[in-house]
Amino acid sequence: MDINSRYSAEQLAHFKVIEQTLAEMNERAAQSGEVTDILPFSEEELTEYSRYCQLLLRERALSEED
């Protein structure tokens, strides 16, 4: 079953927002060495997003092709 089909369009859109925000936060931190105290997502949101990422990573790790 396609991993994306396990999630609603709304959830997938929210994952995109989380992905982009975290990438920007980490990029800024890597550049400046500073981290912000404003943390935009809840633990539950991050956990769900992280689980989704792992499912995608595992699928790729088990495949032979790019």
Partner: protein
């Protein structure tokens, strides 16, 4: 007995009873590895290239892995901080093929922190966004029952991610039997001498008074004892004067409180018993 000797005795008891799983990985300089990882990241971690890098670093370690890992082990990859790092997952898959160990299903553990560990190394800042993991208890218990849990990560430096995952797993009443890594920057835990010297930095600067030194030693152990030496040594280098020592003392107190909140009460109660026994022995 001098207060220094008291501190050392307390630390010896704590360390003797601490759960410090073996670190299974080749110790080496991580600079080249990090460069190779960055190049893969820039390309979006293509599967074939990622697998080639994993196999290259595994090659020098095959005996170590096959001796330490068996079919009764279950491999638990550390969830990627960025959500993109394919190295750890590929490493876990290849380790499973090599040793016959099973692999924990994806999606059972999720991270709860915003910043990647490498971007938030300072203990002063980490308090606001602690590395943490949420585990689906039922699924985890079902898959790990009767197995030896091995945490898998591509690289271990201070051990921040691995140790926090170990702590989360111990809250599920499951013991971690080892950490498997492609490369290990530091594969030793702080020794008694390291810990005693660290506490001594605070007492010699007058930031920790004699009477509170024993309690402070316990806080230091709770904060650094199960990480690799790198984490504590890094902080030690930053303690230059009274002002920085005060800052780190506050931080260690907060980190200790956080650790205790996250540890289950059984563990903390057990630690109190150890300390009572140590006090009686003095």
């Amino acid at each position: 007995m001098s207060s220094g000797r008291y501190i050392q005795t307390i630390l010896e008891h704590l360390r003797q009873h601490a759960d410090l799983p073996p670190i299974i990985g080749r110790k080496g300089d991580a600079r080249t590895f990090r460069e190779e990882k960055l190049a893969l990241k820039a390309e979006g971690y293509p599967v074939r290239k990622t697998r080639a890098l994993v196999k290259k670093y595994m090659a020098g370690n095959l005996d170590r892995f096959t001796q330490a890992l068996t079919a009764d082990c279950i491999l638990v990859p550390v969830p990627s901080g960025s959500g993109k790092n394919l190295l750890t997952e590929v490493f876990a898959v290849e380790l499973s093929k090599l040793t016959g160990a099973s692999l924990l299903s994806a999606g059972i553990i999720g991270k709860t922190h915003h910043y990647e560990a490498k971007n938030n190394l300072s203990i002063l800042k980490r308090v606001n966004d602690p590395i943490g993991y949420h585990i689906d208890s039922k699924a985890f218990a079902s898959e790990t029952h009767g197995k030896k849990v091995i945490i898998v990560d591509d690289l271990i430096g201070s051990g921040e991610s691995c140790v926090q995952l170990k702590r989360a797993i111990s809250r599920e009443n499951v013991r971690v039997h080892g950490f498997a890594n492609l490369l290990t920057v530091e594969n030793y835990y702080p020794t008694i001498n390291d810990l005693t010297r660290f506490v001594g930095r605070f007492t010699s600067l007058g930031v920790v008074k004699d009477l509170e030194a024993l309690t402070f030693a316990q806080k230091v152990f709770n904060t650094f004892g199960d990480f690799t030496r790198q984490k504590m040594n890094r902080v030690e280098r930053e303690i230059r004067n009274e002002a920085t020592a005060i800052k780190f003392k506050e931080c260690i107190t907060r980190a200790d409180a956080q650790t205790r909140r996250h540890q289950n009460h059984i563990h903390y109660g057990h630690q109190q018993q150890i300390l009572s026994r140590a006090a009686r022995a003095l």
